[in-house]
Protein backbone atom coordinates (compact mmCIF):
# COMPACT_ATOMS: atom_id res chain seq x y z
CA UNK A 1 0.00 0.00 0.00
CA UNK A 2 1.21 3.49 -0.86
CA UNK A 3 -0.08 6.97 -0.16
CA UNK A 4 0.72 10.67 -0.11
CA UNK A 5 1.97 11.92 3.27
CA UNK A 6 0.34 15.10 4.63
CA UNK A 7 1.79 17.45 7.25
CA UNK A 8 -0.68 16.20 9.90
CA UNK A 9 0.73 12.68 9.53
CA UNK A 10 -2.26 11.30 7.62
CA UNK A 11 -1.77 9.66 4.23
CA UNK A 12 -3.99 9.99 1.19
CA UNK A 13 -4.85 7.20 -1.26
CA UNK A 14 -5.62 9.84 -3.91
CA UNK A 15 -3.95 13.18 -4.72
CA UNK A 16 -6.76 15.37 -6.00
CA UNK A 17 -7.10 19.10 -6.59
CA UNK A 18 -10.26 20.20 -4.74
CA UNK A 19 -12.18 23.13 -6.25
CA UNK A 20 -14.64 24.53 -3.71
CA UNK A 21 -17.42 27.05 -4.33
CA UNK A 22 -18.36 28.99 -1.21
CA UNK A 23 -21.88 29.92 -2.31
CA UNK A 24 -24.16 28.66 -5.12
CA UNK A 25 -23.49 31.92 -7.02
CA UNK A 26 -19.88 30.72 -7.55
CA UNK A 27 -20.86 27.17 -8.55
CA UNK A 28 -20.70 27.62 -12.32
CA UNK A 29 -17.30 29.30 -12.24
CA UNK A 30 -15.98 26.60 -9.90
CA UNK A 31 -17.33 23.83 -12.14
CA UNK A 32 -15.53 25.31 -15.15
CA UNK A 33 -12.35 25.71 -13.13
CA UNK A 34 -12.52 22.08 -11.96
CA UNK A 35 -13.08 20.67 -15.45
CA UNK A 36 -11.88 17.05 -15.56
CA UNK A 37 -8.74 17.65 -13.50
CA UNK A 38 -10.30 19.05 -10.33
CA UNK A 39 -12.85 17.61 -7.89
CA UNK A 40 -15.76 19.98 -7.36
CA UNK A 41 -17.14 20.45 -3.83
CA UNK A 42 -18.93 23.36 -2.21
CA UNK A 43 -21.59 24.85 0.02
CA UNK A 44 -24.54 26.59 -1.68
CA UNK A 45 -25.85 28.68 1.23
CA UNK A 46 -25.28 32.42 1.66
CA UNK A 47 -26.20 32.50 5.36
CA UNK A 48 -23.36 31.55 7.74
CA UNK A 49 -23.35 28.09 9.32
CA UNK A 50 -20.55 26.87 11.66
CA UNK A 51 -21.21 23.24 10.64
CA UNK A 52 -20.68 24.04 6.95
CA UNK A 53 -17.54 26.03 7.74
CA UNK A 54 -16.10 23.11 9.73
CA UNK A 55 -17.09 20.59 7.06
CA UNK A 56 -15.39 22.63 4.32
CA UNK A 57 -12.24 22.97 6.44
CA UNK A 58 -12.15 19.20 7.00
CA UNK A 59 -12.86 18.41 3.34
CA UNK A 60 -10.27 20.84 1.93
CA UNK A 61 -7.66 19.23 4.21
CA UNK A 62 -8.84 15.65 3.56
CA UNK A 63 -5.87 13.28 3.13
CA UNK A 64 -6.90 12.60 -0.49
CA UNK A 65 -6.56 16.33 -1.33
CA UNK A 66 -3.21 17.72 -2.51
CA UNK A 67 -4.15 21.27 -3.55
CA UNK A 68 -7.17 23.56 -3.22
CA UNK A 69 -8.94 26.32 -5.16
CA UNK A 70 -11.55 28.34 -3.26
CA UNK A 71 -14.10 30.12 -5.44
CA UNK A 72 -15.98 32.99 -3.83
CA UNK A 73 -18.47 35.36 -5.44
CA UNK A 74 -17.27 37.99 -2.96
CA UNK A 75 -20.37 39.10 -1.06
CA UNK A 76 -21.43 35.78 0.55
CA UNK A 77 -21.22 35.20 4.30
CA UNK A 78 -18.84 32.23 4.13
CA UNK A 79 -15.57 33.02 5.97
CA UNK A 80 -13.18 32.38 3.08
CA UNK A 81 -10.19 33.87 4.90
CA UNK A 82 -10.59 31.39 7.77
CA UNK A 83 -10.89 28.48 5.34
CA UNK A 84 -7.86 29.65 3.35
CA UNK A 85 -5.72 29.92 6.52
CA UNK A 86 -6.66 26.36 7.52
CA UNK A 87 -5.70 25.05 4.07
CA UNK A 88 -2.41 27.02 4.00
CA UNK A 89 -1.54 25.88 7.54
CA UNK A 90 -1.87 22.29 6.27
CA UNK A 91 0.91 22.97 3.75
CA UNK A 92 -1.33 22.56 0.69
CA UNK A 93 -1.05 25.00 -2.22
CA UNK A 94 -4.19 27.15 -2.17
CA UNK A 95 -5.63 29.76 -4.53
CA UNK A 96 -8.65 31.88 -3.64
CA UNK A 97 -10.53 33.30 -6.63
CA UNK A 98 -12.94 36.11 -5.70
CA UNK A 99 -15.11 36.57 -8.78
CA UNK A 100 -16.15 40.15 -8.02
CA UNK A 101 -12.50 41.17 -7.50
CA UNK A 102 -11.12 39.23 -10.46
CA UNK A 103 -13.19 40.80 -13.23
CA UNK A 104 -16.09 38.38 -13.53
CA UNK A 105 -16.72 34.92 -14.90
CA UNK A 106 -14.23 34.60 -17.77
CA UNK A 107 -11.26 36.09 -15.93
CA UNK A 108 -11.99 33.97 -12.84
CA UNK A 109 -12.24 30.75 -14.84
CA UNK A 110 -8.96 31.53 -16.63
CA UNK A 111 -7.15 32.27 -13.38
CA UNK A 112 -8.51 29.13 -11.68
CA UNK A 113 -7.85 26.83 -14.63
CA UNK A 114 -4.22 27.87 -14.89
CA UNK A 115 -3.70 27.02 -11.21
CA UNK A 116 -5.51 23.65 -11.51
CA UNK A 117 -3.45 22.65 -14.55
CA UNK A 118 -0.21 23.58 -12.80
CA UNK A 119 -1.15 21.77 -9.55
CA UNK A 120 -2.50 18.66 -11.29
CA UNK A 121 0.80 18.31 -13.14
CA UNK A 122 2.80 18.78 -9.92
CA UNK A 123 0.65 16.28 -7.98
CA UNK A 124 1.33 13.60 -10.60
CA UNK A 125 5.03 13.80 -9.71
CA UNK A 126 4.57 13.98 -5.93
CA UNK A 127 6.41 11.21 -4.04
CA UNK A 128 4.50 8.43 -2.27
CA UNK A 129 5.29 6.71 1.02
CA UNK A 130 4.45 3.21 2.28
CA UNK A 131 1.07 2.86 3.98
CA UNK A 132 -0.41 0.23 6.29
CA UNK A 133 -4.08 -0.56 7.07
CA UNK A 134 -3.64 1.37 10.35
CA UNK A 135 -3.36 4.55 8.22
CA UNK A 136 -6.84 4.00 6.77
CA UNK A 137 -10.28 5.31 7.72
CA UNK A 138 -13.19 3.52 6.01
CA UNK A 139 -16.87 4.49 6.14
CA UNK A 140 -19.96 2.52 5.24
CA UNK A 141 -23.40 3.60 4.08
CA UNK A 142 -26.32 1.88 2.41
CA UNK A 143 -28.65 3.42 -0.12
CA UNK A 144 -31.48 2.27 -2.33
CA UNK A 145 -32.00 -0.60 0.12
CA UNK A 146 -34.35 -3.51 -0.50
CA UNK A 147 -35.13 -6.79 1.22
CA UNK A 148 -31.81 -8.26 0.05
CA UNK A 149 -29.58 -5.50 1.53
CA UNK A 150 -29.92 -6.77 5.09
CA UNK A 151 -29.24 -10.42 4.23
CA UNK A 152 -26.36 -10.16 1.71
CA UNK A 153 -24.56 -6.83 1.18
CA UNK A 154 -24.88 -5.39 4.68
CA UNK A 155 -23.73 -8.50 6.59
CA UNK A 156 -20.91 -8.95 4.03
CA UNK A 157 -19.85 -5.32 4.64
CA UNK A 158 -20.03 -6.16 8.37
CA UNK A 159 -17.63 -9.07 7.88
CA UNK A 160 -15.31 -6.77 5.90
CA UNK A 161 -15.53 -4.25 8.76
CA UNK A 162 -14.55 -6.95 11.28
CA UNK A 163 -11.52 -7.84 9.16
CA UNK A 164 -10.56 -4.18 8.67
CA UNK A 165 -10.90 -3.39 12.40
CA UNK A 166 -8.73 -6.44 13.18
CA UNK A 167 -6.11 -5.05 10.74
CA UNK A 168 -6.04 -1.70 12.58
CA UNK A 169 -8.35 0.33 10.31
CA UNK A 170 -10.71 2.93 11.80
CA UNK A 171 -14.19 1.98 10.53
CA UNK A 172 -17.24 4.25 10.74
CA UNK A 173 -20.91 3.29 10.37
CA UNK A 174 -23.72 5.81 10.50
CA UNK A 175 -27.23 7.05 9.94
CA UNK A 176 -28.67 6.89 13.44
CA UNK A 177 -32.10 7.42 11.84
CA UNK A 178 -31.62 3.98 10.29
CA UNK A 179 -30.65 2.40 13.60
CA UNK A 180 -34.06 3.04 15.18
CA UNK A 181 -35.01 -0.26 16.78
CA UNK A 182 -31.36 -1.37 17.28
CA UNK A 183 -30.71 0.65 20.48
CA UNK A 184 -30.58 -2.35 22.85
CA UNK A 185 -28.22 -4.55 20.83
CA UNK A 186 -25.97 -1.60 19.96
CA UNK A 187 -25.72 -0.30 23.53
CA UNK A 188 -24.51 -3.74 24.66
CA UNK A 189 -21.54 -3.55 22.23
CA UNK A 190 -20.14 -0.26 23.57
CA UNK A 191 -16.61 -0.18 25.02
CA UNK A 192 -17.96 1.44 28.22
CA UNK A 193 -21.45 1.78 29.78
CA UNK A 194 -21.21 5.57 29.47
CA UNK A 195 -20.52 5.26 25.72
CA UNK A 196 -23.45 2.81 25.50
CA UNK A 197 -25.72 5.47 26.99
CA UNK A 198 -24.44 7.98 24.39
CA UNK A 199 -25.13 5.53 21.54
CA UNK A 200 -28.68 4.98 22.81
CA UNK A 201 -29.21 8.73 23.22
CA UNK A 202 -28.11 9.35 19.62
CA UNK A 203 -30.76 6.94 18.30
CA UNK A 204 -33.43 8.37 20.62
CA UNK A 205 -32.56 11.82 19.23
CA UNK A 206 -32.94 10.51 15.67
CA UNK A 207 -36.34 8.95 16.48
CA UNK A 208 -37.58 12.28 17.92
CA UNK A 209 -36.18 14.24 14.97
CA UNK A 210 -37.80 12.06 12.32
CA UNK A 211 -41.08 11.89 14.30
CA UNK A 212 -41.23 15.71 14.19
CA UNK A 213 -40.58 15.72 10.45
CA UNK A 214 -43.30 13.09 9.94
CA UNK A 215 -41.22 10.77 7.77
CA UNK A 216 -38.71 8.12 8.71
CA UNK A 217 -35.54 7.49 6.69
CA UNK A 218 -37.51 5.28 4.37
CA UNK A 219 -38.16 5.83 0.65
CA UNK A 220 -40.96 4.43 -1.50
CA UNK A 221 -38.43 2.23 -3.33
CA UNK A 222 -37.55 0.53 -0.03
CA UNK A 223 -41.16 -0.73 0.20
CA UNK A 224 -41.16 -1.81 -3.47
CA UNK A 225 -38.12 -3.92 -2.58
CA UNK A 226 -39.95 -5.71 0.23
CA UNK A 227 -39.03 -3.61 3.28
CA UNK A 228 -42.07 -2.67 5.34
CA UNK A 229 -41.03 -0.66 8.43
CA UNK A 230 -38.16 1.58 9.53
CA UNK A 231 -37.13 -0.91 12.23
CA UNK A 232 -36.90 -3.68 9.60
CA UNK A 233 -34.72 -1.43 7.41
CA UNK A 234 -32.69 -0.52 10.51
CA UNK A 235 -31.93 -4.12 11.49
CA UNK A 236 -30.67 -4.74 7.97
CA UNK A 237 -28.60 -1.54 7.95
CA UNK A 238 -27.17 -2.37 11.38
CA UNK A 239 -25.59 -5.53 9.91
CA UNK A 240 -22.98 -3.27 8.21
CA UNK A 241 -21.40 -2.62 11.61
CA UNK A 242 -20.21 -6.23 12.00
CA UNK A 243 -19.45 -7.73 15.40
CA UNK A 244 -16.61 -5.59 16.75
CA UNK A 245 -16.78 -3.70 20.01
CA UNK A 246 -17.89 -0.08 19.44
CA UNK A 247 -15.00 2.23 20.38
CA UNK A 248 -16.62 5.62 20.08
CA UNK A 249 -19.30 8.01 18.89
CA UNK A 250 -18.34 10.73 16.37
CA UNK A 251 -20.13 13.70 14.87
CA UNK A 252 -19.42 14.97 11.34
CA UNK A 253 -15.87 16.31 11.15
CA UNK A 254 -14.56 14.39 14.20
CA UNK A 255 -11.65 12.13 13.32
CA UNK A 256 -11.40 8.68 14.90
CA UNK A 257 -8.39 8.83 17.29
CA UNK A 258 -7.18 5.29 16.43
CA UNK A 259 -8.31 2.07 14.77
CA UNK A 260 -11.59 0.51 15.84
CA UNK A 261 -15.31 0.77 15.12
CA UNK A 262 -17.13 4.09 15.49
CA UNK A 263 -20.72 5.25 15.12
CA UNK A 264 -21.23 8.57 13.32
CA UNK A 265 -24.17 10.58 14.70
CA UNK A 266 -25.53 12.46 11.69
CA UNK A 267 -28.73 13.88 13.22
CA UNK A 268 -28.45 17.57 14.23
CA UNK A 269 -28.63 18.66 17.88
CA UNK A 270 -31.19 21.02 19.32
CA UNK A 271 -34.63 21.75 17.98
CA UNK A 272 -35.57 20.52 14.50
CA UNK A 273 -34.44 23.07 11.90
CA UNK A 274 -33.12 23.11 8.30
CA UNK A 275 -35.18 20.04 7.30
CA UNK A 276 -34.16 16.42 6.89
CA UNK A 277 -30.79 15.44 8.39
CA UNK A 278 -29.34 13.95 5.20
CA UNK A 279 -31.41 14.69 2.14
CA UNK A 280 -29.74 11.99 -0.01
CA UNK A 281 -27.01 9.35 0.21
CA UNK A 282 -24.13 11.63 -0.83
CA UNK A 283 -24.73 13.86 2.20
CA UNK A 284 -23.76 10.83 4.30
CA UNK A 285 -20.69 10.09 2.20
CA UNK A 286 -19.58 13.73 2.56
CA UNK A 287 -19.86 13.48 6.36
CA UNK A 288 -17.81 10.26 6.28
CA UNK A 289 -15.12 12.11 4.29
CA UNK A 290 -15.18 14.98 6.79
CA UNK A 291 -14.30 12.39 9.45
CA UNK A 292 -11.30 11.46 7.30
CA UNK A 293 -12.72 8.42 5.48
CA UNK A 294 -10.38 7.52 2.60
CA UNK A 295 -13.17 5.51 0.96
CA UNK A 296 -16.75 4.50 1.64
CA UNK A 297 -18.43 1.10 1.25
CA UNK A 298 -21.87 1.60 -0.29
CA UNK A 299 -24.33 -1.32 -0.18
CA UNK A 300 -27.26 -1.05 -2.56
CA UNK A 301 -30.14 -3.39 -3.34
CA UNK A 302 -32.23 -1.26 -5.71
CA UNK A 303 -29.11 -0.09 -7.58
CA UNK A 304 -27.57 3.28 -6.74
CA UNK A 305 -25.04 4.55 -9.28
CA UNK A 306 -23.38 7.35 -7.26
CA UNK A 307 -19.73 7.79 -6.44
CA UNK A 308 -18.21 10.81 -4.76
CA UNK A 309 -15.81 13.69 -5.16
CA UNK A 310 -12.47 13.25 -3.33
CA UNK A 311 -12.83 9.70 -1.94
CA UNK A 312 -13.63 6.48 -3.82
CA UNK A 313 -16.92 4.67 -3.20
CA UNK A 314 -16.90 0.85 -3.29
CA UNK A 315 -20.30 -0.28 -4.56
CA UNK A 316 -21.61 -3.55 -3.20
CA UNK A 317 -24.62 -5.01 -5.01
CA UNK A 318 -26.94 -6.81 -2.58
CA UNK A 319 -29.48 -8.00 -5.14
CA UNK A 320 -28.35 -10.51 -7.81
CA UNK A 321 -31.11 -9.43 -10.25
CA UNK A 322 -30.00 -5.80 -9.99
CA UNK A 323 -26.34 -6.86 -10.38
CA UNK A 324 -27.23 -8.63 -13.62
CA UNK A 325 -28.76 -5.37 -14.95
CA UNK A 326 -26.18 -2.91 -13.56
CA UNK A 327 -22.88 -4.82 -13.25
CA UNK A 328 -20.95 -1.91 -14.80
CA UNK A 329 -21.79 0.27 -11.80
CA UNK A 330 -20.87 -2.31 -9.16
CA UNK A 331 -17.55 -3.35 -7.59
CA UNK A 332 -18.67 -6.40 -5.61
CA UNK A 333 -21.59 -8.80 -6.18
CA UNK A 334 -22.96 -9.75 -2.76
CA UNK A 335 -26.05 -11.07 -4.55
CA UNK A 336 -23.90 -14.14 -5.22
CA UNK A 337 -24.71 -15.13 -1.62
CA UNK A 338 -28.39 -15.62 -2.58
CA UNK A 339 -27.65 -17.49 -5.79
CA UNK A 340 -25.25 -19.77 -3.91
CA UNK A 341 -22.08 -18.96 -5.85
CA UNK A 342 -20.32 -17.28 -2.89
CA UNK A 343 -20.52 -17.32 0.90
CA UNK A 344 -20.90 -14.27 3.17
CA UNK A 345 -17.31 -14.85 4.32
CA UNK A 346 -15.99 -14.89 0.73
CA UNK A 347 -17.80 -11.67 -0.17
CA UNK A 348 -16.57 -10.06 3.06
CA UNK A 349 -13.00 -10.96 2.02
CA UNK A 350 -13.58 -9.55 -1.51
CA UNK A 351 -14.69 -6.24 0.00
CA UNK A 352 -11.64 -6.20 2.31
CA UNK A 353 -9.32 -6.87 -0.65
CA UNK A 354 -11.05 -4.15 -2.69
CA UNK A 355 -10.40 -1.57 0.06
CA UNK A 356 -6.72 -2.49 0.40
CA UNK A 357 -6.45 -2.47 -3.42
CA UNK A 358 -7.52 1.19 -3.51
CA UNK A 359 -4.17 2.03 -1.93
CA UNK A 360 -2.40 -0.14 -4.52
CA UNK A 361 -3.54 1.64 -7.66
CA UNK A 362 -6.96 0.06 -8.18
CA UNK A 363 -9.94 2.28 -9.02
CA UNK A 364 -13.67 1.79 -8.44
CA UNK A 365 -16.48 1.47 -11.00
CA UNK A 366 -17.87 4.89 -10.05
CA UNK A 367 -14.42 6.51 -10.39
CA UNK A 368 -13.99 4.96 -13.84
CA UNK A 369 -17.46 6.19 -14.86
CA UNK A 370 -16.64 9.75 -13.73
CA UNK A 371 -19.07 9.94 -10.80
CA UNK A 372 -18.10 12.79 -8.46
CA UNK A 373 -21.33 13.60 -6.61
CA UNK A 374 -21.23 16.02 -3.70
CA UNK A 375 -23.83 17.70 -1.48
CA UNK A 376 -23.57 19.78 1.69
CA UNK A 377 -26.51 21.44 3.45
CA UNK A 378 -27.24 23.33 6.67
CA UNK A 379 -27.00 21.58 10.06
CA UNK A 380 -26.28 22.36 13.72
CA UNK A 381 -24.25 20.19 16.10
CA UNK A 382 -23.01 20.43 19.68
CA UNK A 383 -19.53 18.99 20.30
CA UNK A 384 -19.39 15.32 21.42
CA UNK A 385 -19.35 14.68 25.18
CA UNK A 386 -16.39 13.19 27.13
CA UNK A 387 -17.98 9.70 27.24
CA UNK A 388 -18.04 9.46 23.42
CA UNK A 389 -14.33 8.61 23.02
CA UNK A 390 -13.31 6.50 26.03
CA UNK A 391 -9.59 6.51 26.79
CA UNK A 392 -8.84 9.68 24.79
CA UNK A 393 -7.68 13.04 26.15
Amino acid sequence: MKGWLRTDGRKGIRNHVAVAYLVECAHHVARRIAGEDGHLIGFPGCFPNPYAQRMMERLCTHPNVGAVVLVSLGCESFDRQALESVVRASGRPCLTVVIQATGGTAASIAMGRAFVAQQAAALLLAPVVPMTPADLVVGTVCGGSDGTSGITGNPAAGIAFDKLVAAGVACIFEETGELIGCEDVMEARAATPALGAELRASVDKAARYYATLGYGSFAAGNADGGLTTIEEKSLGAYMKSGQSRISGLLKPGDQPPRGGLYLLDVVPDGEVRFGFPNISDNAEIVEMMACGAHCTLFVTGRGSVVGSALAPVVKIAANPHMFARMAGDMDVNAGAILTGSATLEQVGQQIFDRVIGLAQGQTTASEDLGHREFILTYKTFDPIGPACLPGVG
Binding site: D146, G147, G214, Y215, G216, T228, T229
Partner: protein, 98 residues
Protein backbone atom coordinates in the same frame (compact mmCIF):
# COMPACT_ATOMS: atom_id res chain seq x y z
CA UNK B 1 -40.91 -28.98 4.36
CA UNK B 2 -40.68 -25.43 3.10
CA UNK B 3 -40.13 -24.09 -0.41
CA UNK B 4 -36.34 -23.62 -0.85
CA UNK B 5 -36.95 -20.08 -2.08
CA UNK B 6 -38.09 -19.15 1.45
CA UNK B 7 -35.18 -18.18 3.71
CA UNK B 8 -35.46 -18.34 7.51
CA UNK B 9 -33.03 -15.78 8.94
CA UNK B 10 -33.49 -16.63 12.64
CA UNK B 11 -35.25 -19.47 14.48
CA UNK B 12 -37.49 -16.99 16.31
CA UNK B 13 -38.76 -15.30 13.15
CA UNK B 14 -42.46 -15.19 12.21
CA UNK B 15 -41.55 -14.50 8.54
CA UNK B 16 -39.49 -15.99 5.74
CA UNK B 17 -37.59 -13.83 3.22
CA UNK B 18 -37.84 -14.63 -0.50
CA UNK B 19 -34.47 -15.50 -2.01
CA UNK B 20 -36.04 -15.54 -5.48
CA UNK B 21 -39.26 -14.38 -7.11
CA UNK B 22 -42.56 -16.27 -6.83
CA UNK B 23 -45.25 -15.96 -9.53
CA UNK B 24 -48.91 -15.15 -8.82
CA UNK B 25 -51.01 -18.29 -8.32
CA UNK B 26 -48.06 -20.59 -7.52
CA UNK B 27 -48.59 -23.24 -4.83
CA UNK B 28 -45.73 -23.20 -2.31
CA UNK B 29 -44.92 -25.31 0.76
CA UNK B 30 -44.81 -23.40 4.07
CA UNK B 31 -43.82 -25.71 6.96
CA UNK B 32 -45.48 -28.66 5.23
CA UNK B 33 -48.72 -26.86 4.27
CA UNK B 34 -49.62 -26.04 0.64
CA UNK B 35 -50.39 -22.32 0.23
CA UNK B 36 -51.41 -20.46 -2.92
CA UNK B 37 -49.51 -17.18 -3.48
CA UNK B 38 -52.07 -14.52 -4.45
CA UNK B 39 -49.77 -12.05 -6.22
CA UNK B 40 -46.31 -12.15 -7.79
CA UNK B 41 -43.66 -11.40 -5.17
CA UNK B 42 -40.09 -10.18 -5.74
CA UNK B 43 -36.82 -11.11 -4.13
CA UNK B 44 -36.53 -9.72 -0.59
CA UNK B 45 -40.26 -9.73 0.19
CA UNK B 46 -41.63 -11.53 3.26
CA UNK B 47 -44.02 -14.47 3.59
CA UNK B 48 -45.56 -15.37 6.96
CA UNK B 49 -44.19 -18.47 8.65
CA UNK B 50 -46.45 -18.24 11.72
CA UNK B 51 -49.87 -16.77 12.38
CA UNK B 52 -49.79 -13.36 14.08
CA UNK B 53 -52.84 -11.78 15.73
CA UNK B 54 -53.58 -8.08 15.21
CA UNK B 55 -51.42 -6.01 17.57
CA UNK B 56 -48.85 -8.77 18.07
CA UNK B 57 -45.25 -8.47 17.00
CA UNK B 58 -43.82 -9.59 13.67
CA UNK B 59 -40.25 -10.88 14.10
CA UNK B 60 -37.39 -10.92 11.55
CA UNK B 61 -33.62 -11.24 12.28
CA UNK B 62 -34.88 -12.44 15.70
CA UNK B 63 -36.04 -8.88 16.48
CA UNK B 64 -39.43 -7.13 16.25
CA UNK B 65 -39.97 -5.18 13.02
CA UNK B 66 -43.43 -3.85 13.98
CA UNK B 67 -46.93 -5.13 14.79
CA UNK B 68 -49.62 -6.85 12.74
CA UNK B 69 -52.23 -4.30 11.73
CA UNK B 70 -54.58 -7.16 10.80
CA UNK B 71 -54.52 -10.94 11.26
CA UNK B 72 -51.65 -12.66 9.44
CA UNK B 73 -51.89 -16.35 8.41
CA UNK B 74 -48.99 -18.63 7.40
CA UNK B 75 -48.21 -18.10 3.70
CA UNK B 76 -49.54 -14.51 3.63
CA UNK B 77 -47.44 -11.78 2.01
CA UNK B 78 -46.33 -9.62 4.96
CA UNK B 79 -46.01 -5.98 3.97
CA UNK B 80 -47.49 -2.51 4.49
CA UNK B 81 -51.10 -3.83 4.27
CA UNK B 82 -50.75 -5.98 7.41
CA UNK B 83 -47.62 -4.75 9.26
CA UNK B 84 -47.03 -1.33 10.87
CA UNK B 85 -43.98 0.27 12.52
CA UNK B 86 -43.77 0.79 16.28
CA UNK B 87 -41.81 3.98 15.51
CA UNK B 88 -42.70 6.11 12.47
CA UNK B 89 -45.39 5.25 9.88
CA UNK B 90 -44.16 4.08 6.48
CA UNK B 91 -44.74 6.59 3.68
CA UNK B 92 -45.84 5.17 0.34
CA UNK B 93 -46.16 6.70 -3.12
CA UNK B 94 -49.43 8.56 -3.52
CA UNK B 95 -49.36 9.83 0.05
CA UNK B 96 -50.72 6.72 1.82
CA UNK B 97 -49.29 5.92 5.24
CA UNK B 98 -49.19 2.40 6.65
Amino acid sequence: MTDPRLLLLHPGDTVFVLRDQIAAGEMILVDGAQVRVQQGLGLGHKIARLAVAPGDRVVKYGAPIGRASRAIAPGDHVHTHNLASDYTPTHQRGGAMA
